[in-house]
């Protein structure tokens, strides 16, 4: 009989572990994000992340992604929206390039030393890369939640 109990005890341990893992996942997300943006800068001139905050849907200021020499300053940005909202962000670059939003397949030219404003309805759910066509670098990640 004690074998039965041992089996059940093992099972409960597993459940507990799975439960803890689920609870921990929220914390992990923040650490991972930092790791990602810190990583992305290594390819550039080694400048540290400054002032690039993850988008938090604050309406008045539009997220601006600054690109220098084909690299996003401060690493890849994160844009997060709920389905049905309007995605809106700016890209300014010292070199001419084309911003490409994957999945939505939206392209927008940025003139050298200029700024492009990109706006479209968030009507496809999922995670999408936003990259520069010329330098082929990812400048942001777009998340559209249901």
């Amino acid at each position: 009989m004690h074998r039965t109990k041992r089996g059940i005890a093992l099972l409960l341990t597993l459940v507990a572990v799975a439960g803890l893992a689920a609870c921990g996942s929220d914390d992990d997300e923040t650490t991972d994000t930092t790791a990602t943006s810190a990583q992305s800068t290594t390819g550039g001139n080694g400048s540290t992340a400054n002032g690039k905050q993850p988008a938090d849907n604050d309406q008045p200021s539009i997220e601006t992604i600054v690109v220098r020499n084909g690299e996003p300053v401060g690493g890849s940005a994160e844009l997060e929206y709920d389905a049905g909202e309007q995605v809106r962000f700016r890209v300014s670059s010292n070199e001419a390039d084309e911003v490409h939003v994957h999945g939505y397949d939206i392209g927008e030219e940025v003139p050298a030393g200029g700024t492009a404003t990109i706006s479209f309805p968030a009507d496809i759910e999922g995670i999408f890369e936003i990259e520069l066509h010329g330098s082929e670098k990812q400048i942001a990640e777009l998340r559209v939640n249901p």
């Binding site: 074998r3 039965t4 041992r6 089996g7 059940i8 093992l10 099972l11 597993l14 459940v15 799975a18 439960g19 893992a21 689920a22 996942s25 929220d26 992990d28 997300e29 650490t31 991972d32 994000t33 790791a35 990602t36 990583q39 992305s40 390819g43 890849s76 389905a83 994957h102 999945g103 939505y104 397949d105 009507d123 496809i124 759910e125 999922g126 995670i127 999408f128 890369e129 990259e131 082929e136 670098k137 990812q138 990640e141 998340r143 939640n145 249901p146």
Partner: protein
């Protein structure tokens, strides 16, 4: 995200992680179902006999007769040729070239799906088998005797396929890393790999015989054949028949190396899912450490991914081994070796559930590309428009995030139930005594819960 790219560069969209509430529901259902399974356990094995009965002779002749065989074989050879040609001559853009989507999505993910439903449908389309049989038949006709064969060493069993499976996935998602944008393996190296693999396969078929190599060493045949064991159609002595679903799986793992094949399947899918979330920060750390030690970036990426893929395999094998060790402590247990192979088939549904959970949306989206622009313009050079669909695109609105989540969680839960069913049935057959059998199954239950909850966990932290 851009540091460790993966083969999904094919698709422009990634799945959102399943939300916490769905994870909680999924895990709860798994546990409730599991305890319920313990209480309703049947006392006589039900899946030991596959109860095969032939279908009508006319149907059997039509599907297995030589015209069908020649036609299917020719289709297989033709498509392999197209894949190699487009890889060599086409664009290097992974999403615009026929080769990558065809090999890694349509074939690699499509055949497991069809095999689970219908049985071994890859066999007639296998291009190497078709070539091997044609050459063998030609030789026999000219020489008046069949070609000499080496005896396949049975000790090797399915080991060549198990190692090949790991190598295949390694090539797909580890080797193909090239920094910056996510690009996985590019079409050109994929085509070269296909040529190398074709040469190797044909050589092995010449040595050991076409059918023998398909059963033991040819990666795709063995891998798809594994899923086909769950299906309800099978052939016996050249006749097509229907059988009890799942029941054919029971004898599949008796061949050495089969356990490694199913473990490798679960491990590689876990790795691919985990590198997008669960393992991401650990992989970053390893990568950084390797850079510090003095490796260059690509080498560091490959070493990191190889290491984590190996860890996945070790982890999956360890969980199964603990379950087997545990069962061996129950009175009346057969030998460890018999348990180790005897319960391996119960992991096939888990392996399939993992595949569905991780690649369902990729498959649905990428097949739209496969059957529109990749078919009309296989080279991706905008020089052809064979079916007038070259300018079509993928409709990413086809699936909502919720639909994907429900399919993912549903697949894992159903896979879990089927796995428990097979394990309970095998235990009843091995122990004879119902009570001891049920006792042994606490261990397998723990194994299955571990795999299913890990699968859910992988989904819940994907792409973070």
């Amino acid at each position: 995200m851009s540091l460790l790219p993966y083969a999904h560069a094919l698709v422009a969209r990634q799945d959102l992680p399943i939300p916490a509430w769905l994870f909680a529901w999924g895990a709860s259902i798994v546990l409730i179902v599991s305890f319920f399974a313990l209480s309703v356990g049947w006392r006589k094995p039900r899946f030991e006999d596959e109860n095969w009965r032939p279908l009508r002779a006319g149907l059997s002749r039509a599907l297995l007769g030589w015209p069908a065989q020649v036609l299917c074989g020719a289709i297989g050879v033709f498509l392999l040729g197209v894949a190699i040609y487009s890889g060599l001559r086409g664009t290097e853009a992974p999403d615009r070239n026929f080769t990558l989507t065809f090999i890694f999505v349509t074939v690699w993910l499509g055949f497991p799906l069809f095999s689970v439903v219908f049985g071994n449908v890859f066999k007639p389309f296998n291009p190497w088998r078709a070539v091997g049989r044609a050459v063998g038949g030609g030789f026999a006709a000219i020489a008046g005797q069949p070609a000499a064969r080496l005896e396949y060493p049975e000790r090797l069993g399915r080991w060549p396929a198990a190692i090949g499976l790991l190598a295949f996935v390694w090539l797909e998602i580890v080797y193909g890393v090239s920094g910056g944008v996510a690009v996985g393996l590019s079409p050109h190296p994929a085509a070269i790999a296909a040529v190398v693999y074709s040469t190797y396969t044909l050589a092995m078929m010449a040595l050991f015989g076409v059918e023998k190599w398909c059963e033991r060493g040819e990666i795709l045949s063995v891998y798809f054949g594994m899923f086909a064991q769950l299906g309800s159609f099978g052939t016996k002595e050249g006749r097509l028949g229907a059988r009890k679903p799942l029941a054919a799986a029971g004898r599949w793992a008796a061949v050495p190396g089969s356990v490694a094949v199913v473990l490798a399947s679960i491990a590689t899918t876990s790795f691919d899912g985990g590198q997008e979330g669960v393992f991401q920060s650990a992989m970053f750390d390893t990568f950084d450490w390797l850079i510090d030690v003095g490796f260059e970036a690509t080498a560091s990426r490959r070493i990191t991914s190889t290491l984590f893929m190996a860890l996945c395999f070790a982890g999956v094998a360890l969980v199964y081994w603990i379950g087997v060790r545990g069962m061996a402590t129950v009175r009346g247990a057969p030998s460890l070796r018999k348990l180790w192979t005897g319960f391996a088939h119960t992991l096939i549904p888990i392996a399939f559930a993992y595949l569905v959970a991780h690649y369902f949306s990729l498959f649905v989206y990428q097949e739209q590309a496969q059957f529109t622009y990749l078919l009309s313009d296989p080279l991706g050079t905008t020089t052809t428009d064979l079916f007038g669909t070259a300018s079509a695109g993928v409709d990413y609105r086809l699936l909502s995030a919720n639909a994907i989540w429900y399919v993912q969680v549903g697949a894992l839960v159903i896979g879990h139930v089927v796995a428990l069913t097979l394990a309970h049935d095998r235990a009843v057959a091995y122990w004879g005594d119902y009570r001891q059998a049920a006792r042994s199954q606490y261990w397998m239950l723990a194994v299955m819960v571990a795999f299913t909850c890990f699968g859910l966990y992988l989904l819940s932290v994907a792409n973070s």
